[in-house]
Symmetry: C2
Subunit: 320 residues, 2 copies
DNA sequence: CTAGGTGCAAATAATTTGCAGAGGC
DNA sequence: GCCTCTGCAAATTATTTGCACCTAG
């Protein structure tokens, strides 16, 4: 692994430090300073404990390592590459920890800190308790370091598939309900797009699973509110009662905004370059969809003009 | 304060321990062992550091105190009476911390741990960063220990008011839309109930503010998704497109379930006995509302019988 | 009387630091 | 040659423990 980009300017080459860093990065989970010291000693008995501590400290300031405290009275360190903000479930019995991501929690924390005018540097969540294995004795599929990236890709793809599926349903229904022929045409076109996306995502998902068949059984890593039903599901639900065209457009605009956000956010985090490309491309297309819907909303509003029945609430489409 | 209930069976009376405990409980924020030692020394120089540590330890096992680690290399302790699960914002600059509650985060964590078959003992969230005062120099109204209870009551009442307001709107609309006269009658009756509740809550809110006029300016302590719009807001929104009576009933059932949960949960946590009583009473009434709606749903379903147009999705009301 | 609480001083355990020497640039 | 890294041992810091004594029940 090339570490040159990680070394801060002015840092000096040092084979010992390099060896410690390398050993550290090769570790799966969360290492103690002492554990790392023992590992280092195994390779080179001429390295002192202080150097390990100093290197760990340096890695933290350099952003390579992340200090975590599981309440054991000593610190643990994890490589901070990959997912910058994950949270921990820590077993009080076997002292192992597993990780998860939750955009929803991140979003709520943003709300809270904004309300308090607090500028977040870092958030940590630790859930202490008893893990499945310690409680039942049944060994559950683990989420070790190597698999994390694939599991992340799997979860992101699953959410994406659900989203496109719900999007397809939303636009199909909207097209069926639409009174205005131009509006119907747009809904039909967007339904087609979502169908395309769905195909691409399902194929990528199948490819991913093919590379590692154990992947499907592994526990969820990325938790996301829209995951189960898809981001458009609520919108599709709203259409059930029957709505006018303007309202359908409005709902679509909101859903596209959310799904754009989703694809952008997780596209950025993807390690797998193919998945990343798909996500970022889709993010762009969802943005285009949204613009198209906004334009159509304005146009339809103008066409309906003043003879449109008055209604409480805003009539302008959201612009952000 | 009577501590007899807090002392574990077999514990021996001890004036020194009692004094330490009392001093600890009188503290506002999060004390370190050493800070407490200094405080204790001020009152009785004959108390040793070890006794303070031992008492702190004892308080933790007895459930009186809660150990928190803000990453300073030493532990802090806070009284664990009152709100059992709050989270912390910690300022890296002035090292003070402020607290918040979020039911939404609690709910998400429950989902995550359930998915991993993890049995939670305790969850902690720490957000590190820079507080408003350190960043801007403007002193913001604090959330000190004494005020926390009142601020909690204020926030709970605000959410409750919003909920009843949205409930009133929901039932008014539902009554206006209802085709079935019996259904309309029920909706009208529930609207009346919500109006009553609203009056009670607004009065209580005014009383609370009267006891401490600075209360309104203090920052939010209890964060809750339904807070801004009220728990029925989404339901009321759904009615906008126009729905049939069965669907309106179904939406009402869901909203009543959520608002029952809300009143129950926070009623249990209320310290202020008047607020507590109101909340628990309302929780009961919301449960009755829900039962009423479910009964009506079944009755209407039966009355409409087989000549009701078929529709995808479940036709049974949720039972939990 | 006796179990448990308490003070003092010494022990522990993780981590940091002073300093003399080694090594990269 | 200079500046930084490094090892070793000593220092530091929060917390715990051994032990003799004390005190409430």
């Amino acid at each position: 692994m090339d570490l040159s980009g990680l070394r801060p300017a002015g840092g000096k080459r040092s084979s010992k430090r390099d060896r410690i860093v390398q050993l550290f990065l090769a570790q799966k989970g969360h290492v103690t300073a002492d554990e790392l010291y023992d590992l280092v000693r195994g390779e080179d008995p001429g390295i002192g404990r202080a150097t390990v501590y100093r290197t760990l400290q340096w890695m933290v300031t350099a952003g390579i390592a992340h200090k975590v405290d599981f309440g054991e009275g000593r610190s643990r360190y994890e490589p901070s590459l990959r997912h910058p903000r994950h949270f921990h479930l820590i077993c009080n019995s076997c002292h192992r920890s597993s990780e998860f991501l939750s955009s929803d929690i991140e979003a709520i924390l943003e709300e809270v800190t904004a309300a308090r005018n607090f500028e977040t540097v870092e958030a940590e969540i630790k859930v202490f308790g008893i893990c499945e294995e310690c409680r039942t004795g049944i060994k559950a599929p683990a989420l070790d370091g190597a698999a994390t990236e694939s599991v992340f890709a799997r979860d992101a793809l699953r959410i994406a598939v659900a989203t496109e599926r719900s999007g397809l349903e939303f636009y199909s229904r909207a097209a069926a309900l639409a009174n205005d022929p131009r509006g119907r045409e747009i809904f039909e076109r967007l339904a087609e797009d979502e169908k395309d996306h769905l195909g691409t995502l399902e194929q990528r998902y199948a490819e991913l699973i093919a590379t590692d068949p154990t992947l499907e059984a592994r526990p969820t890593f990325l938790f996301f509110k829209g995951a189960a039903q898809g981001i458009f599901a609520e919108g599709a639900e709203k259409l059930r009662g029957g709505v006018d065209d303007l309202r359908a457009l409005l709902i679509g605009i909101r859903c596209e905004r959310d799904s754009h956000k989703f694809f952008k956010k997780y596209g950025d985090r993807f390690e797998d370059s193919e998945g990343k490309q798909i996500f970022l491309e889709f993010a762009e297309e969802e943005r285009e969809h949204r613009d198209m819907l906004i334009k159509e909303y304005r146009a339809l509003q103008a066409r309906l003009g003043i003879n449109r029945p008055g209604r409480r609430g805003s009539t302008a489409p959201p612009t952000h």
